[in-house]
Amino acid sequence: MHPEPQHSEPPRPEPPRPEPPRPEAQRPEAQHPEAQRPEAQRPEAQHPEAHEHGPDEVPHTHPEAGVDPHTPLGEGPRALRIGIGGPVGSGKTALVAALCRALGGELRLAVVTNDIYTTEDADFLLRNGVLPAERVRAVETGCCPHTAIRDDISANLDAVEDLEATLGPLDLVLVESGGDNLTATFSKGLIDQQIFVVDVAGGDKVPRKGGPGVTTADLLVINKTDLAPLVGADLSVMDRDAKARRHELPTVFLSLAEDRRATPVADWIRGLVAARV
Amino acid sequence: MRAEARVVAEADGRGGTRLAVLRGESPLLLRRTGPLVDGWVTVHLVGGAAGPLRGDELRLDIEVGPGARLEMLSVAASLALPGRPAPPSVLTVTASVATGGVLRWLPEPLIAAAGCDHVVVTRVDVADGGSLLWRDDLVCGRHEETSGAVLADTMIRYAGVTLYRHELAVGPGAPGWDGAAVLGGGRAVGTLVAVGADLPRPGIAGPDAAVMPLAGPGMLATAVGDDIRAVAAALGPLCRRSRPVPLLTPASG
């Protein structure tokens, strides 16, 4: 009944057998070594000086801050992956809902959320974003939202792969980070392009402060412009500082309260999707 | 002390079950109890001596043939005691259930008295199409007493494949057994493995109890409690037979 006892075996591993070809998705991405990455793509080594933690955080470590341990995504027939990051309350989930509203009819779309996610949030997306529940996956981040999008992206990659496996080919996957701070950026191993969302209520100094999110994001969204007069924020100052920090990288101003389809952001994504085909 | 007991239940060809073998010796005495009801035969373990004590070697073999229905109960909790310095007491229970056979093993709890050193080895083989309900409850120490050492080593196979393999170690020599990963200070724990027909529904079965679908065709219910009543509250309802069990009327044997 029992398998043969193995006592006669030497206590060394058996040599691995040769590997058969694997599908593209499973192949190690060693063909894109870190060294070949263009300098411009490397996140700045801001950590830990520019480090700000939210009020609810507890002590934790930061593996190799500023260094992306993952190789960039390989090219292939897969969905465009866009990361959406930004501080707590800046409007990430509202932006995701707006993009679902704007793009859900024209693109095959799915969402991975790293935020604390409840059925209430799912209902919010269902009601507001016309996104069925099976198109949303929640990833638990063990109280470390930035680890899950930057240092150890495995749970997010699994979620994206599972969405593609269950829904079939997709055009666009939005990966929403958990609310974090100005230093949070996505790994290039997880996403193709990233959007960083700040809001005017956070103060008009945010673009000047910089941080990897503001300086390196492919698109900076300055949200809640409708609140500017109420909080005394000067949008022109924010625009000037963002340009100084970001050089040629685009910045858009948005009021999701007024533009419920996030038109400038949706247009930017449409351009990216069109460029891929 | 060494003792062996053996039960063989067979279909009697008339929709009932007969006991082809019913043999035991102290402290493993077996008694058939109650009339045959709905094809079931019930056998009680009757403690014949104090114990098990260290050094005891006890063995019980149960065989349920095709179409036979056997329920095994015990009249009282068994109490593992220290006794003289000696190797651990060992109780080995083996059971086989043939296709179409049903075995219900629902003994009273085992109590690990302070200083005991007891091992229970359970090996159950259920053939494809057989059914099993296997319950083991353990109380760690008598009232306000520290627990002795008990190792419960269980393997349940179904259709030749290992379905459930589990050891539970409590008492001195089992690091962290009263920590929050194992029993968390609870003094009683019960497990119920169901295989075959009439599986309980999976889900939460109490504040510290759950009914879990195994990877193979079976279900495990586990409950931890401050005392055995909490365990009984969680597992008891899962052990009810579809038809009422007759009142216990020990027969002479």
Partner: protein, 214 residues
């Protein structure tokens, strides 16, 4: 043997999904059983002696018996009654393989084996011994939950690491036992279970909001 390779495999910074798992701690904190470093110590001691031993033995066995991964995986299924824990183990196995494939050539293996099987497969591919695979498994078993305790309870990280240092000899001992038994038939490999880990995982899986995946 390469000590540096072993350290790489055991490093909590290995991007293998571990940071999102509390190793069963989150539900026990919620149940009020772990509130401080002492409570954590009891949790970790019990975990090490139960699922730690099982994981270490299966990691060592998978490292040593690379043609028996399917049988070993089935052995872990039989030792993991909680579906939530099986899911968590397979998710971590999948994530570990993802990291491992980028580091070493790994023989063909299921997409999401149990975590100890994946760990053994990585160890074998990296040229490590079964004993080293066992140490890595036992070590990750306690360090993962300890890190989660710091994040969930705000415990003093120095006090938690002092505890881990005290547990290190026990971790070595467990790994040695595991390695010694790693050649045994699958049914005879360690099977010590922890009822509250099973029960807690099932409760945790029903929560509306949880911070850790398991």
């Amino acid at each position: 043997m390469s000590l540096a390779t072993l350290l790489l495999l055991a490093d909590g910074r290995l991007p293998s999904g571990g940071h999102a798992h509390s190793g069963g701690l989150e539900p026990q904190i919620a149940a009020g059983r772990v509130r401080d470093v002492d409570g954590l110590a009891g949790f970790l001691r019990g975990k090490l002696a139960t699922s730690g031993l099982v994981s270490a033995a299966f990691a060592a066995a998978a490292c040593r018996r690379t043609r028996q991964w399917v049988d070993l995986d089935g052995g872990l299924d039989a030792r993991t009654p909680s579906p939530a824990l099986r899911k968590a183990s397979r998710a971590q196995g999948r994530a570990l393989l993802r990291a491992g494939r980028a580091m070493w050539p790994i023989a063909p293996i299921a997409r999401d084996p149990h975590q100890p099987i994946a760990l053994g497969a990585l160890a074998a591919a990296a040229g490590l011994t079964p004993a080293e695979a066992a140490v890595a498994a036992a070590h990750s078993m306690i360090t993962g939950s300890a890190s989660a305790a710091v994040r969930l309870l705000g415990l003093d990280p120095y006090a938690v690491h002092a505890l881990l240092a005290r547990l290190a000899p026990e971790c070595d001992r467990i790994a040695a036992v595991a390695a010694e038994r790693s050649g045994d038939p699958v049914d005879d490999l360690p099977a010590v279970g922890a009822p509250l880990l099973d029960i807690g995982a099932e409760h945790h899986a029903t929560w509306e909001v949880r911070l850790f995946a398991s």
